[in-house]
């Protein structure tokens, strides 16, 4: 059963949903941004520690569906150690991967590739991008913010 969904729900996604990485609060984080998808009720708070333009640490709190939880969990892993502009570039590749048929540098997206299946499920794209829109807001604004995907 559910064989048709292997593209969307890969084992890695279940794994991150069960055991989300970096699921914690960073005390005195340099950026703390809340993301909200009112359609699903998904809600997350993203914490970033940025030192001289480099994301030294990233974590999150909140709850959402498996796609959104796996997406934010994977994101916090992959952006650590990247500069702000590298993280923005990654967002743009990721966004392209799940919304268009265009050429995507799969090497650049690395393990985010497990989310490529979302493209076949337009209703779920927002689940996968909530984390990244929240990151985008965090990188563009200093301090505390709140964003909504609707």
């Amino acid at each position: 059963m559910f064989e048709d969904l292997r593209d969307l729900y890969q084992e890695v996604i279940f794994d991150h949903n069960r055991n989300p990485r970096n699921f914690r609060v960073i005390e005195n984080a340099s950026r703390e941004v809340e993301g909200f998808n009112p359609l699903c009720g998904d809600r997350l708070t993203l914490y970033l520690d940025i030192v001289s333009g480099v994301i030294e640490d990233a974590s999150f709190q909140g709850s959402g569906c498996a796609i959104s939880t796996a997406s934010v969990s994977l994101m916090t892993e992959i952006i650590k150690g990247k500069t702000e502009s590298e993280a923005e570039a990654l967002f743009s590749q990721f966004h392209k991967m799940i919304t268009t048929e265009g050429e995507v540098d799969m090497e650049a997206v690395g393990k985010l590739a497990v989310l490529a299946g979302v493209k076949g499920y337009p209703a779920r794209v927002k689940c996968a991008t909530l984390a990244w829109h929240t990151l985008d807001t965090a990188l563009k604004n200093e301090g505390l913010e709140s964003i909504s995907t609707e």
Binding site: F2, F14, I67
Partner: protein
């Protein structure tokens, strides 16, 4: 289990005879919108094919035919609601527009600064937001009837909300998020003791039970065609004639006037005073066909069948470990809202869809209900007269499989 010939009913709904992702469609999203029988589809297409023209004032044959069918549908609605007169039946786009009409016409002409409007905690956004807008315009306030954990309104609290500032009560006959059927007859009696008119939102209840606006003695009642196996974009506002007579028009335009000059306009009689512009002619006729269809089967028969189906489904899902039913009122319509431990409703929705089962996952336009139960969303299976125990069995066994996949 029932007096219904479900197989023959299913054969009347062409959309049901299809496969989704290789599996027979199991359509359990009826509270959002129900499917359409051939008779409704034919009534609409036959109007366009053979009889269509603009209604009222036409001197040619097609206009007369369309007018007769259109006004014939109004009489069907009157009988369906047991209203006294066709003057009390106003065609609108749906329950939402009906409530907005009441808020902007009745509300703005009778409700002012510091007045109070009573609604309940389990309302659909359509029965919250129009009143909030009215409150912003007038300085009135919303008062909200609380509910219990089971999803039943607390009637003592309702009674204690009435005071000299109370001007209007607006309540759902049946909750779309919980399935609760509210004790509206008793609530209307309470309001009338204070001479306060009551609006009933019948969007959910109309397809599932007999409605008698005179027995209920509600002052206004709204419902949508698309949940009653009829077309989308058409609905009905019922209002007591005396109230409607006293209300100013909602929109201006053609058909709602008797005489227009640049100095002044004389408005048309009821119900036309509230029907500006060319209406959704074919859709009104389609709604008439939908009413013929459900009354042919019998609303009481439909209610009895759906009730037994809901009981069966509730029994079955209660055996699933980690499943919690949201909304356990003693009197419920055929709606089963639930959450599963550790599995988000949107994942449930996507996984069920992959085997042909259509449910709804989300806040069901009732965010205050989600806040009350402290859940971001629920999964909701909502049944209609064409659903079967066999479909419930497939839903339940699929849910069990789904839980295994997530463990």
């Amino acid at each position: 289990m029932s007096a219904l010939d479900v197989l023959s009913i299913r054969n009347d709904f062409p959309v049901l005879a299809q496969q989704i992702r290789g599996k027979p469609l199991i359509y359990l999203d009826n509270a959002a919108s129900s499917q359409k029988p051939n008779s409704v589809i034919d009534a609409i297409s036959n109007n366009y094919r053979f009889d269509y023209a603009n209604i009222h004032r036409g001197v040619h044959t097609l206009s007369q035919r369309s007018t007769d069918c259109f006004e014939g549908a109004r009489e069907k609605v009157r009988a369906f609601l047991n209203a006294e007169s066709i003057k009390e039946i106003i065609f609108v786009r749906g329950a939402t527009e009906g409530i907005n009409l009441i808020a902007q016409s009745y509300g703005r002409s009778t409700i002012g600064q510091d007045d109070e409007i009573i609604i309940t905690m389990m309302e659909h956004h359509a029965n919250i937001v129009p009143w909030q807008m009215l409150c912003q315009q007038t300085g009135a306030r919303l008062r909200v009837v609380p509910m219990t954990e089971r999803g039943e309104l607390i009637l003592d609290d309702y009674k204690s909300l009435f005071n000299s500032k109370t001007r209007l009560v607006s309540i759902a006959h049946m909750s779309n998020a919980l399935g609760t059927v509210n004790p509206v007859a008793e609530m209307i009696k309470t309001a009338h003791r204070y001479n306060i008119p009551v609006v009933l939102d019948g969007a959910q209840s109309a397809p599932h039970m007999t409605t008698d606006v005179r027995a209920l003695d509600c002052d206004f009642y709204v419902f949508s065609g698309h949940k009653l196996y009829g077309p989308a974009g058409i609905g009905v506002l019922y209002g007591k004639q005396a109230l409607l007579e006293a209300m100013p028009p909602y929109q201006g335009g053609g058909d709602m006037i008797r005489k227009v000059s640049f100095q002044e306009t004389e408005y048309n009689d009821l119900p036309y005073k509230f029907e500006a512009g060319t209406p959704a002619i074919a859709d009104v006729i389609g709604l008439g066909a939908a009413i013929d269809y459900v009354t042919g089967i019998g609303l009481d028969n439909i209610a009895a069948y759906e009730d037994s189906l809901l009981c069966y489904a509730t029994e079955q899902v209660n055996q699933i470990a980690g499943l919690r039913v949201i909304g356990e009122a003693a009197h419920k319509g055929a709606i089963l809202s639930f959450v599963l431990d550790g599995i988000h409703p949107h994942d449930i929705g996507t996984l069920l869809d992959s085997v042909g089962i259509a449910i709804r996952a989300g806040h069901h336009c009732a965010m205050p209900v989600m806040d009350f139960y402290q859940v971001p969303a629920t999964a909701r299976a909502s049944f209609a007269m064409y659903n079967t125990e066999q479909e419930v069995d497939i839903l339940v066994s699929t849910l069990k499989e789904l839980i295994k996949v997530f463990r």
